[in-house]
């Protein structure tokens, strides 16, 4: 492990718990604990798992014009986002690609943004450079982020503060947890009910220990986080989406509210709008789809997808053997005319053709608490 890697406030706890640490986005992060990825994955599906996601970027935007300013960077309705409501968003590029995906929560005095670790420096520059004159961009490097995910997450967290149980999916609020003032949203990256908890760095370890003390909760690493999000059909930035994929190609148009689409009151006005609107109107040449393997062999990122004649149709961007669905699952970009559900295609794995079927996502049903 390289000595110049950054450490999250929970680093000492990860070491103490016997985590296998790997470099990720410049941080030494736990890929798994001694239980292993599959056990940690199941823990999250069956009870509750605690993830350290403090490497992710947290930023605040303040100022009366912040929401309107942010709308110039995302094809998403921020202006109408209600107090304590959370929304998924995308920073787009002038060519219609995706610079990053993020979560936006409207709080009393600011908009809270959670961005990907690998993108946070570039996102911060992008925000300051593009809208820094219209609002104040405040990075929050002194905050840690914990994700408590799973069907029993609410039981465990409510023991620390019963009020959290009142939150519904994609809402947030301020709560005192184990003595710390936290901002909690009921959301996550696993497809399960659960919470993401922003807490001061110096209070993070005590809160994490308090959560791990609850009988429902065990630690889980980035390995399980990846298999969980893939089963949930959620994109991983830098793999399933990047600057070369548009929101239309990535099948993320659900993230673009009507008000920002052609004909809407605040249509366009974000980078790449012309490209994205043209694709909304007439479709994109490629599309992100889910694939399920018809054999046991895992199909991984980079595997070419071909038709029965061996003609290339696309490529896999994420893939593994899904521990809950117990079959190979993948995301891939396919030529749009081969992207229809149930279409059978082949992945090339070590020179062999493995049959796969275009499948609806999520692969494992979402179990969010919508109230």
């Amino acid at each position: 492990m390289s000595a110049d890697l950054l450490k999250t406030p929970l680093y000492a706890m990860h070491v103490e718990l016997g985590a296998k640490l790997v470099p990720f986005a410049g941080y030494a992060m736990p890929v798994n604990y001694p239980a292993g990825i599959i056990a940690e994955h199941r823990q999250c599906r069956e009870a509750a798992a605690l993830f350290d996601v403090s490497h992710m970027g947290q930023l605040r935007l303040t100022g009366d014009d912040a929401a309107r300013a942010l709308e110039t960077l995302v094809p998403v309705d921020v202006v109408d986002l209600g107090l304590h409501k959370q929304r998924y968003a995308l920073f787009t590029s002038p060519s219609g690609g995706i610079l990053d995906d993020l979560m936006i929560t409207r709080r009393e005095a600011d908009l809270l943004l959670i961005v990907n670790a690998a993108c946070k420096a570039a996102d911060t520059q992008h925000l300051i450079g593009s809208i820094g004159a219209r609002c104040t961009v405040i990075p929050m490097p002194d905050r840690a982020l914990l994700a408590l995910q799973g069907p029993k997450a609410v039981i465990a967290l409510a023991r620390l503060n019963p009020e959290v149980a009142r939150l519904t999916f994609m809402t947030g609020g301020s709560f005192k947890l184990a003595g710390a003032e936290c901002f909690v949203t009921r959301s996550g990256y696993t497809g399960e009910d659960g919470f993401e908890i922003s807490v001061a760095a110096e209070q993070a370890a005590a809160l994490a220990r308090a959560l791990l003390h609850e009988p429902e909760v065990k630690p889980a690493g980035l390995g399980a986080r990846d298999t969980l999000r893939l089963e949930a059909g959620l994109c991983l930035y830098g793999h399933d989406i990047d600057t070369k994929t548009t929101p239309v190609e990535a099948a993320l148009t659900w993230a673009m509210q009507k008000v920002r689409r052609p004909g809407g009151a605040r249509a366009g006005g974000y980078p790449g709008a012309a490209v994205i609107e043209a694709q909304l109107a007439s479709g994109s040449p490629v599309k992100r789809v889910g694939l399920v393997g018809l054999e046991r062999v895992p199909v991984r990122e980079g595997a070419p997808i071909v038709d029965a004649q061996g003609r290339k149709l696309g490529h896999v961007t994420s893939g593994t053997l899904g521990p809950t669905v117990n079959q190979p699952i993948a995301m891939a970009y396919l030529a749009a005319n081969h992207a229809q559900l149930h279409h059978e295609v082949y992945a090339e794995v070590r020179g062999k053709r493995v049959p796969m079927r275009v499948s609806a996502m999520p692969f494992a049903p979402h179990r969010y608490h919508r109230g």
């Binding site: 292993g36 599959i38 994955h41 990846d226 062999v297 895992p298 053997l321």
Partner: protein, 124 residues
């Protein structure tokens, strides 16, 4: 009975008058994590030393299994194919991969003996 090791973390065990048994070491299974799929060599085919004779896949990654010494594969572990996690639970025993008739015993003798392999592990 003699067990030898490769720098790629395979083991090969020869008992008198028996085909050699090949598997992956405890270190290899630990580094890979939960093993979910194996590809085993073709029975009856001869593989050269260093040739890819199988694949081990965990949730996270795929790794090649290299033939420790040239030989003809005479049996594969069908129980491992059905339950790849055997290679995690008992890598030196029930989690074996295949049996092979080694062509040149000197290739076997040149592999790492247990003290040499232990010394390698200490450098990792």
């Amino acid at each position: 009975m003699t067990t030898m090791f490769t720098p790629d973390h395979e083991w090969i065990n020869i008992e008198d008058h028996e085909a050699a048994v090949v598997g992956i070491t405890p270190h290899a299974q630990d580094a890979l994590g939960d093993i979910v799929f194996v590809e085993l060599p073709e029975v009856g085919r001869t593989y050269k030393k260093g040739e890819v004779a199988g694949v081990v896949e965990s949730v996270k990654a795929a790794a090649d299994l290299y033939m420790p010494a040239e030989g003809e594969v005479v049996e594969v572990n069908e129980a491992l194919r059905a339950d790849p996690a055997l290679a995690n639970r008992d890598p030196m025993g029930e989690g074996w991969f295949f049996k092979v008739h080694v062509t040149h015993m000197e290739e076997f003798d040149q592999l790492m003996d247990p003290p040499a392999y232990d010394a390698l592990l200490k450098t990792l």
